[in-house]
Amino acid sequence: MAKILENHLVADDFCLMKVEADNDAKMGQFYMLRAWDKFPVLSRPISVFDSDGKTVSFLYKVVGQGTEIFQSLQPGADITIDGPHGSGFPDAQGKIALVGGGVGIAPLYLAAKRLKQAHPDSTVDVYLGFSGQPMLVDEYEQAADKVTVNVGGFVTDDIDPTGYDVIMTCGPEIMMRVLYKKCVDAGARAKVYVSMENRMACGIGACLVCTCKTRSGNKRACKDGPVMEGWEVFG
């Protein structure tokens, strides 16, 4: 059980929740969140938006019964956060692009922060695609070198992949697929990492409901991922 410190709307249907935590998370990892007893059965996987060893933050979109319960929680209330789970984004340097669509922008904030922290000489450009109201753009601007915001269009249109050494992306599968293809088509040298948010049950690698069939064999999104190499998934 962890105590909720903050939990508020940051845009239509998007909430930011800050929770006490006694462990640190890596960028791209996620926790299994649960704020109920036995109904619904499954816990909800939510990426780490931010983490500092004492607290962890989640950016989540209210889409159904689980996230509706999350939204209803007041600061001071308890929530079970089991994790962090998964591999996370790999360390990287050079010219880095982080490309997020919708709530897929969530893991990119910590990624930007950590990458800049570890390699102040690297440049980290962030591309954020929104279908509705943009959010948290200031925060991303503080963390990254450059932030490009796309509202209502295709964020993949905004990026020239040839300029980058590493591209990390999280968002709808179709967006990540288009981005990967754009890189290949452009002959970009960039190594592409994608975060696969398959539906999960156990979240710890035991039940095989989150399997991605990749070119390097079956991978569990929860344990071997969620971050995988673009060519494995889309190549």
Partner: protein, 301 residues
């Protein structure tokens, strides 16, 4: 821990009657990062097939009211890989090692059993009840006479203790259990998942590529409990009760209905440590009710 929970199932001693169900706990490795899995009575491996199997495409899990549908489709590394990489570790654990095996054809089953014959394990759980494969598996477990044929052939080659895992979709689950007994099975376990359906009304197509998938979890507990009760009263071989167990009270219900051992599946998704609460709760219940051994309440209903 006292010996209150100690149970003997087909000659195999379980230090407590709680096992994790096949397919929900891998080969125990991941759970062992949460707690010492040797606190469990038993562990059922992910369902193995002769050849490695990539499992189904598309969405594999869907939540329903108090239930979970899955369509994993027997993804597994194959029996040989299991023997090479997991079996020794599982055998070294202080718990009952239950190896779950499925198949797409009769040959698969028989060759798989032959492969496993040469290696130690505690119980072989023969899965003739998985609803998630296009060919085989559950189709062996719907009609009693079809099941008789496969159980007879497996029994003829199998040198391990044999527990047949039954499908709630069977035409007559008691008849099926009787057939298993007649053909020399050492026990039966039930239930596997219920064949079920979900439709994505926006996309106007089934959620699952296989159209149907297997439902489990608390939603189906009352039906599985009824079947366990019927089967336990219909056969003399021991019974493992499975289906929606999520609390120690649920587990006691299955024991009272006649199960010697229970398995926990989907409820572990609520919390991987839930099985420990079940074990502790059962122990407490026995203590408070001055029951020296769980066998005293087994089948009392």
């Amino acid at each position: 821990m006292s010996k209150r929970l100690e149970t003997v199932f087909a000659g195999v001693t379980f230090k407590n009657p709680v096992a994790l169900a096949s397919g929900t706990c891998g080969f125990g490795k991941e759970f062992n990062e949460y707690f010492d899995i040797q606190r469990l009575g038993g562990l059922c491996s992910k369902g193995l097939t002769l050849h490695p199997c990539l499992g189904n495409d598309g969405i594999r899990v869907w939540e329903t009211p108090s239930g979970v549908m899955n369509s994993v489709g027997m993804e597994n590394p194959g029996i040989q890989h299991f023997i090479d990489c997991d079996l020794e570790r599982m055998n070294a654990l202080d718990l009952v090692n239950i190896v779950n095996m499925g198949g797409h054809s009769e040959e698969d089953y028989l060759e798989g059993v032959a492969l496993l014959n040469d290696h130690p394990l505690d119980l072989l759980e023969l899965n003739i009840s998985c609803p998630n494969t296009k060919a085989g598996c559950m189709s062996f477990g719907l009609k009693a006479e079809v099941a008789r044929d496969i159980v007879r052939k497996v029994r003829a080659v199998c040198r391990h203790k044999l527990v047949v895992k039954l499908s709630p979709n069977a035409e007559d689950v008691v008849a099926l259990a009787r057939v298993c007994q007649e053909e020399g099975a050492d026990g039966v376990s039930l239930t596997n998942t219920y064949q079920a359906m979900a439709i994505d009304i926006k996309k106007r197509r089934p959620v699952f590529e296989n159209v149907y998938a297997g439902l489990s979890g608390p939603a189906i507990k009352p039906i599985s409990l009824r079947m366990v009760h019927q089967v336990a009263h219909g056969v003399d071989i021991p019974v493992m009760g499975i289906g929606g167990i999520a609390t120690w009270q649920d587990a006691i219900e299955f024991i009272m209905a006649g199960a010697q051992v229970v398995q926990i599946g989907a409820a572990s998704f609520m919390d991987p440590r839930l099985c420990l609460d079940v074990i502790d709760g059962m122990e407490r219940f026995l203590e408070e009710n001055k029951i020296d051994n769980i066998s005293e309440i087994c089948g009392i209903i």
